[in-house]
């Protein structure tokens, strides 16, 4: 079965797609930092951030609807955390809105990053940025095997449904529980087989890497202008509010 739900659209081509993954990752990080550090009473700044990320989304030519849909996934979690704020604090409503807006802006930039960067090159970028090797490996295994696991879950579900899954709610829960258990054991055993396959090819617990990335002039332009825009947005927020 084919899936591409993680980095869908990442293999199309645009100014943003062509940027070095490291540039994009650092820009996203800076953007999120700027957004989260902006105090709640500097409302206008958020419009500037929004304009900034919108321009990038348009430049990336990723369908806007896709990005919007993806960005809403985070909302239930944000609401769950922030829903009580209006009742507990003075000025709570403003605070609540700020939290929601900040979360949404941050997730917008992350969705954009994922939609314009292939996971393998993002991982390479993270490694170059000195993210510990173990973390990079965990992420890369996750990316490689999440699809295999999804397939496995689908096959298990088909097998279950073919045997007429029904009965009481309690019985259904028990069935799902044992499916989860089976899945865990299978994954664990697969982990051992993968490790043996790695050992067979000379793996010794640490891996050397190769360099495949290159900053281009476009990255410099983008970095400078994006940094400047963020800086101006911050300044605008502080004096404008």
């Amino acid at each position: 079965m084919k899936h591409s739900f993680i980095d869908q659209y990442s293999d199309s081509n645009s100014v943003i797609h062509r940027l070095d993954p490291r540039t994009k990752f650092l820009a996203t990080l800076a953007f999120i930092l700027a957004v989260t550090l902006t105090p709640p009473h500097h409302g206008q700044a958020f419009w500037v951030y929004f304009a900034l990320v919108s321009v990038l989304i348009l430049l990336s030519r990723v369908p806007v609807l896709h990005i919007l849909k993806r960005s809403l996934v985070i909302m239930p979690f944000v609401l769950l955390v922030a829903i009580f704020v209006p009742f507990l604090k003075e000025n709570g409503l403003q605070l609540f809105l700020t939290v929601v807006v900040k979360a949404w802006l941050s997730i917008l930039s992350l969705v954009l990053l994922m939609a314009t960067t292939k996971i393998p090159s993002l991982l390479e970028g993270l490694e170059w940025l000195r993210l510990p090797r173990v973390m990079v490996m965990i992420l890369s295994f996750m990316y490689r095997y999440i699809f295999v696991l999804v397939d496995e879950v689908m096959r298990m579900r088909q097998a279950r449904d073919s045997r007429n899954f029904g009965g009481s709610r309690w019985w259904q829960l028990k069935t799902i529980g044992s499916m989860v258990g089976t899945l865990f054991i299978r994954s664990y055993e697969r982990g051992e087989r993968v490790y043996v396959a790695m050992l067979s090819r000379g793996f010794e617990g640490h891996s050397r890497t190769r360099e495949n990335l290159g900053f281009k002039l476009a990255d410099a332009y983008f970095g400078i202008s994006f940094g400047l825009a963020l800086f101006l947005a911050g300044v605008f927020g502080f004096w404008g509010g």
């Binding site: 393998p120 991982l123 890369s140 697969r190 087989r193 043996v196 067979s200 090819r201 000379g202 891996s207």
Partner: protein, 241 residues
């Protein structure tokens, strides 16, 4: 003749007390193509895991004249390339290139050497141009070829394959068989696909319940119906293969 692998009186008991191999002795010569044939659970895979030191032996396994020990594991694993049955275990990297490059990188090849060995290995299995693909998006036949390439990139002298044709459709299977026939390496193939054995191997070793039952030329062994029937390799009472 030139002995490349010599196994003498090898027995192996898994930690849970299950006996997997008992008193196995086997010699493989340079350039030979040998099939290890036996029913499921006969101990074929366990035997293969001894050939490159994944499972420990006390000097009963000799590769190129020297016993497999902790000190020479790396060398042994380069010279004996082991291809596992399930390509989803063998291919664990985000891209095909990364996977084929894994062995050479672990062996400490230079950047240029890595690229060259990857290109060569992919050309040999007819998969040039798949470097940037994700293993998950390949067909099983393609995955099998890539899995072989991941080992070939380390330029092994002995190629060991576990069930190379399992689950393949006839077209992919015969493509793989013609690939194997082209090789000049020493081949050791564990399987119970007698068509594959007949097409590729000159010598057959029959294993059942952890013991070597018979060995001889492909013609003699595959012509011996009662022998095949006794070990679940041919239908009972049938006179045709």
């Amino acid at each position: 003749m030139n002995e490349v692998i010599k196994i003498e009186n090898l027995s192996f008991i898994y930690p849970d007390g299950q006996s997997a191999l008992s008193d196995v002795s086997l010699t493989i010569h340079l350039g030979e193509r040998v099939a290890l044939v036996g029913p499921n659970g006969a101990g074929k895979t366990t035997l293969l895991l001894h050939l490159n030191g994944i499972l420990p032996s006390n000097g009963q396994v000799k590769v190129f004249g020297s016993a497999v020990m902790d000190g020479n594991l790396k060398e042994v694993r380069r010279r004996v390339g082991l291809v596992f049955q399930n390509p989803d275990d063998q291919l664990f990297s985000p891209t095909v290139f990364d996977d084929v490059a894994f062995g050479p990188i672990n062996l400490g090849y230079s950047e240029a050497e890595v690229r060259q060995s990857v290109a060569q290995a992919l050309r040999w299995v007819g998969m040039t141009g798949f470097e940037k693909r994700s293993p998950h998006h390949l067909s099983l036949g393609e995955k099998k070829r890539i899995a072989i390439a991941t080992v070939l990139s380390m330029s092994p002298e002995i190629l060991v394959l576990d069930e190379p044709t399992a689950n393949l459709d006839p077209r992919s299977k015969w493509a793989l068989i013609s690939l194997l026939k082209r090789s000049t390496m020493t081949l050791i193939i564990a399987c119970h696909d007698l068509e594959l054995v007949r097409a590729v191997c000159q010598r057959v070793v029959i294993i059942d319940q952890g013991r070597i039952i018979a060995e001889g030329s492909t013609e003699n062994i595959l012509g011996d119906m009662p022998l095949l029937q006794a070990h679940g390799l041919a239908p009972d009472g049938s006179k045709t293969a």
